[in-house]
């Protein structure tokens, strides 16, 4: 039976991992696709949009919304697993 303290350490590690994964997506869609790679991506078309421009003005924002809801879902599960959720 691991001690409470070890459990909480594990919880925190899992939390950090979740956040790091989601923040890398955050970075890639905005700073990656929307800024650094915007020029080359503009060669690809998405209907009337050039892809780099689309990421900068639309795609990154949609992704941000999805990221937060994924985070909410993952954290609620994690809280339950480690029995630290609020009643």
């Amino acid at each position: 039976m691991p001690t409470h303290k070890e459990q909480m350490k594990k919880y925190w590690k899992r939390n950090i991992r979740t956040v790091l994964i989601l923040l890398s997506v955050w970075f890639i869609v905005s700073f990656g696709f929307g800024i650094i790679l915007a020029e080359p991506l503009n060669a690809i078309r998405l209907g009337g949009y050039q892809l780099g421009f689309w990421f900068a003005q639309q795609g990154s924002i949609f992704t941000f919304v999805v990221l937060i809801f994924v985070y909410v879902y993952r954290m609620n599960k994690l809280d339950e697993e480690f029995d630290v959720n609020e009643k």
């Binding site: 909480m8 919880y11 925190w12 939390n15 950090i16 956040v19 989601l22 923040l23 955050w26 905005s30 700073f31 929307g34 800024i35 650094i36 915007a38 020029e39 503009n42 998405l46 209907g47 009337g48 949009y49 050039q50 421009f53 689309w54 900068a56 003005q57 639309q58 990154s60 924002i61 949609f62 941000f64 919304v65 990221l67 937060i68 809801f69 985070y71 909410v72 954290m75 609620n76 809280d79 630290v84 959720n85 609020e86």
Partner: protein
């Protein structure tokens, strides 16, 4: 009915609604005044956060800024939404668990130092005051353009309204009026956008219309690129700013958003940690509706303006051009006397000057929508300005009554504290109103820099306070001060001391003053880290507190001391 009557009716009705809500939800205790008693549902808080966040600038000016800067305008779109991801994952849940009322509260307790608290209060006040002055100005401008009263009278009416519900209602009153204000502003923004999208592209969803085709079957954005290049302008879909600068500005805006005290305090009002996370998600949904529509409004607006005005005979211009020429927001000057309006990049030959605000303000008329829509846009602009102003005023009054008075006069009763909170809110309204009527020339610029300052001061210190148990008060103070001083010095040098040197060759690493907050943030982090290495670790009880805020269970409602 004419435009003026509709405007009076709709603006009047919206004001009556806000006042009604304020009376119904007025605050009775400090807890209700500071955090609405901690009982706001995540959905309502999400809406209130969105209204709090989207200011007169988002509603009135942003689409116009994008219209004239094309791809470069993306910094605002990504910057002012991406910050919510940071807020949701790195700040909101932990600050909610911490369970006090303000950002300086957290800084002061976490760094066991009243010095750190006072530095934080100073930052919070500075950021909020520059911001709120801009909002009062926005209220005045909307009044003067739509209701044909002087800007001064407009500001005073706006002051009276905000005074009434911010001072009376505190956070509780503000929260529920902001919910109503969000509904008004989003409806007012979307109705013209949807109709213009249908007219131009046949698609009722502006986000899809922007990627759609215009009447001749070519894609709107391609056509816009072509037209602008022909006139000597830069392509709409590619940038003029360097990649480094775009990167730095976007980062400064994102991090600044996450560090703004009036946004952070909104997450103290929900009952549980998981509600704080969820409510950040809702907030971003509500914000994204406007922020993904704005680039469409921008492209439609500039396309329409060029299509209906440029190259047309001076005496056959559409009615909306005539209407808005009276306000000087659109200026046609037939320099070469050939009777045709030339719109060109070359300033010596250009005959058409369009203010950025026109893209939203004149949208209903450009789309030939009924008069009530014009009144609706006026009410929407007002809602955006008032909701943000109220949120900021609350931060100011809380900083004074709680962070300053409570810290140094701990024995005062709750009733006295509530009176001090209300009086400081009242004083803040008057000061903000004064700056709204007599704006110092640099208000607009300073507002933009508030983000850089928030990024360079609050953000690193709060993050380190949560994610590092080793970070101590010496590190935090060194970080806040060095980040703030560096950013402020860079901005003051390039904007006020030698504005003529403000060109990319002179910028450090090619970063403009708008983006320098991101470098200031790095300096803050580095200073924190180095100084804390050589100074003693924080006391045992503070380290325990950090462990505690990392775990959701046991949050309870926002606690008083």
């Amino acid at each position: 009915m004419d435009i003026l009557t509709w405007t009076y009716i709709l603006v009047g009705l919206s004001f009556a609604l806000y006042i009604g809500i304020a009376i119904y939800t007025r605050a009775g205790s400090t807890k209700e005044f500071y955090t609405a008693g901690g009982g706001v549902s995540p959905l309502a808080n999400g809406m209130a956060t969105a209204a709090d966040w989207m200011s007169a600038a988002s509603f009135i000016s942003m689409a116009g800024i994008i219209a004239f800067s094309g791809y470069d305008g993306s910094v605002y779109l990504m910057g002012w939404t991406g910050g919510y991801v940071l807020l949701a994952m790195l700040l909101a849940p932990y600050l909610r668990k911490f369970g006090k009322f303000t950002v300086p509260d957290f800084v002061g307790d976490r760094y066991y130092s009243n010095k750190a608290r006072v530095v934080a209060v100073f930052c919070a006040l500075f950021i909020s005051f520059t911001y709120v002055a801009g909002q009062m100005r926005g209220v005045g401008i909307v009044f003067s353009r739509y209701l044909e009263v002087e800007i001064e009278q407009g500001v005073i009416i706006g002051m009276a309204i905000v005074f009434f519900y911010a001072v009376l209602g505190g956070m509780k009153g503000i929260t529920y009026t902001q919910v109503a204000q969000y509904c008004v502003l989003i409806f007012a923004f979307m109705v013209p956008a949807i109709f213009i999208s249908i007219q131009l592209t046949g698609n009722p969803v502006p986000q899809l219309g922007l990627g759609g085709t215009v009447q001749d079957g070519s894609y709107l954005l391609d056509k816009l690129d072509g037209i602008l290049v022909d006139l000597g302008f830069h392509e709409y879909t590619s940038g003029r700013k360097s990649v480094t600068d775009i990167f730095a500005i976007t980062l400064a805006l994102m991090v600044g958003t996450a560090g703004l005290p009036h946004v952070i305090v909104r997450f103290f009002t929900v009952p549980r940690v998981k509600d704080a996370r969820l409510s950040a998600g809702y907030a971003l949904v509500f914000i994204a509706i406007l922020y993904t529509t704005a680039p469409a409004v921008a492209a439609f607006g500039i396309y329409n303006a060029i299509d209906t005005v440029a190259g047309k005979p001076v005496d056959e211009l559409p009615v909306w051009v005539e209407n808005w020429q009276k306000t000087n927001l659109i200026v046609v000057d037939d320099l070469n006397q050939d009777g045709v309006v030339q719109y060109l990049a070359d300033p010596d030959q250009n005959e058409l000057t369009v203010d950025k605000d026109i893209m939203v303000l004149a949208a209903p008329e450009i789309a030939e929508l009924p008069n009530w829509v014009v009144g609706l846009v006026a009410a929407g602009g007002m809602a955006a300005a008032l909701s943000t102003a109220a949120g900021l005023l609350l931060v100011i009054s809380t900083s004074v009554s709680r962070d300053l008075f409570r810290t140094f006069v701990p024995q005062m009763t709750e009733k006295t504290e509530l009176i001090i909170a209300r009086v400081s809110a009242a004083v803040a309204v008057v000061i903000a109103g004064y700056f709204g009527i007599n704006p110092p020339g640099f208000v607009a610029e300073v507002v933009a820099f508030a983000f850089g300052l928030a990024a360079a001061s609050f953000f690193p210190v709060i993050i380190m306070g949560i994610f590092s148990t080793r970070m101590n008060k010496e590190g935090a103070i060194a970080g806040m001060v060095s980040g703030l001083v560096f950013t402020l010095a860079y901005i003051i040098y390039f904007k006020f001391i030698s504005p003529e040197a403000n060109v990319s060759e002179n910028w450090w690493f090619g970063i403009s003053p708008e983006g320098i907050g991101s470098l200031g943030m790095l300096i803050n982090f580095v200073a924190c880290f180095i100084v804390s290495k050589f100074t003693p670790a924080p006391p045992e009880d503070v380290q325990e507190m950090i462990q505690d805020i990392r775990i959701p269970r046991g949050a309870g409602k926002a606690q008083d001391h």
